[in-house]
């Protein structure tokens, strides 16, 4: 049952990304092009998502357990620290360069187009590289457990 719901919400998530225009890198770039021909449409995608989430998340989290019996697995880190800001900064540069963030890139894999396959392969390599950079011996802080 847990796998069925995870699958169904994955499908729903992908349809939302596609309908909202997030799988169009040109739209992402136009959204980020504040200094040029700015297209703010995608702000309504995140706005719509947070509008729903801001109501349902606190409501869902009032429960002791999730509906299918699992405990809630939530991010534990709360510090606004250097890894957070540096990592988010690096992510933004990659997002602006490519026009893809992880969700739309994975959804777009179905096109089997070489540019997308390349992007996802390098994104996987980057995950391994980032994992190596934040390995426990690389910093005094432990590996952060967070939202993903």
């Amino acid at each position: 049952m847990k796998l069925i719901t995870a699958f169904v919400f994955g499908v729903t998530f992908a349809l939302g990304l596609g309908l909202g225009g997030m799988t169009q890198p040109a739209k992402i770039i136009a959204f980020l092009d504040v200094g040029g021909a700015w297209d703010p449409t995608l702000a309504f995608v995140m706005g719509g998502a947070v509008l729903v989430g801001a109501v349902t998340f606190p409501w869902a989290l009032r429960r002791r357990k999730a509906l299918l019996g699992d405990n809630f697995v939530l991010p534990t880190a709360s510090a606004i620290d250097a890894p957070l800001l540096i990592g988010a900064g690096i992510f933004g540069v990659g997002w602006g360069l490519s026009g893809y963030c992880p969700g739309p890139a994975l959804v777009s894999l179905v096109t089997l187009s070489p540019p997308i396959l390349t992007f996802v392969a390098f994104m996987a390599a980057g995950q391994y590289l980032g994992r190596w950079l934040v390995r426990p011996s690389a910093a005094q802080e432990p590996i952060l457990s967070d939202a993903g």
Binding site: K2, A6, F7, F9, G10, V11, T12, F13, A14, L15, G16, L19, G20, G21, P25, A26, I29, T41, L42, M46, A49, V50, L51, V52, G53, P58, V73, L74, P75, S78, I80, L84, I86, G87, A88, G89, I90, F91, G92, G94, W95, L97, G99, Y100, G103, L106, V107, V110, T111, S113, P115, T118, F119, F122, A125, G126, Q127, D146, A147, G148
Partner: protein
């Protein structure tokens, strides 16, 4: 910006928010795509099955889009292959180091009213906009 595209953006956003809410309510998990993807690269025993199911759902949804609305995907990439590769690497590194992307920090984090996720979201929006400014308005002519 026609109002129909705003409406479509809101509907798309609501579906994303609904999916993230559903995953939290039913499965107790955060729909952070970079974390789900990264979690599959280095699998953890208890967390792998639902992540596989969710990613298969993303792919199935992509398949539906491909059939029902092929224009959801670009006919041509606006960026050269080398730029996409560099972007992919930075997206992977950055989301790993900061533990979240547009969905984990942007949608789920803001929905949980996490100041940490707000800081991350403002940061990647800012560097994303700066990057597009530099690429589109300064170095565009030099790119392959």
């Amino acid at each position: 910006m026609p109002s129909s595209s705003i409406a479509l953006a809101l509907v798309g956003g609501a579906l994303i928010g609904g999916a993230a809410s559903g995953l939290l309510l039913f499965n107790g998990r955060i729909a952070g795509i970079s974390g789900i993807f990264g979690g599959l690269l280095v699998p953890e025993r208890e967390e792998t099955a639902w992540r596989v199911a969710f990613v298969l759902g993303l792919l199935a949804g992509g398949g539906v889009l491909l059939v029902a609305d092929p224009a959801a995907f670009p006919a041509h990439q606006p960026r050269a292959l080398a730029v996409l590769a560099a972007g992919g690497l930075l997206v992977g590194v950055g989301t790993k180091i900061s533990n979240g992307c547009t969905s984990g920090h942007g949608v789920c984090g803001l929905s949980r009213r996490s100041p940490r996720s707000l800081a991350a979201t403002l940061t990647f929006m800012t560097t994303g906009a700066l990057t597009v400014y530099v690429v589109n308005h300064i170095v565009q002519g030099y790119l392959p």
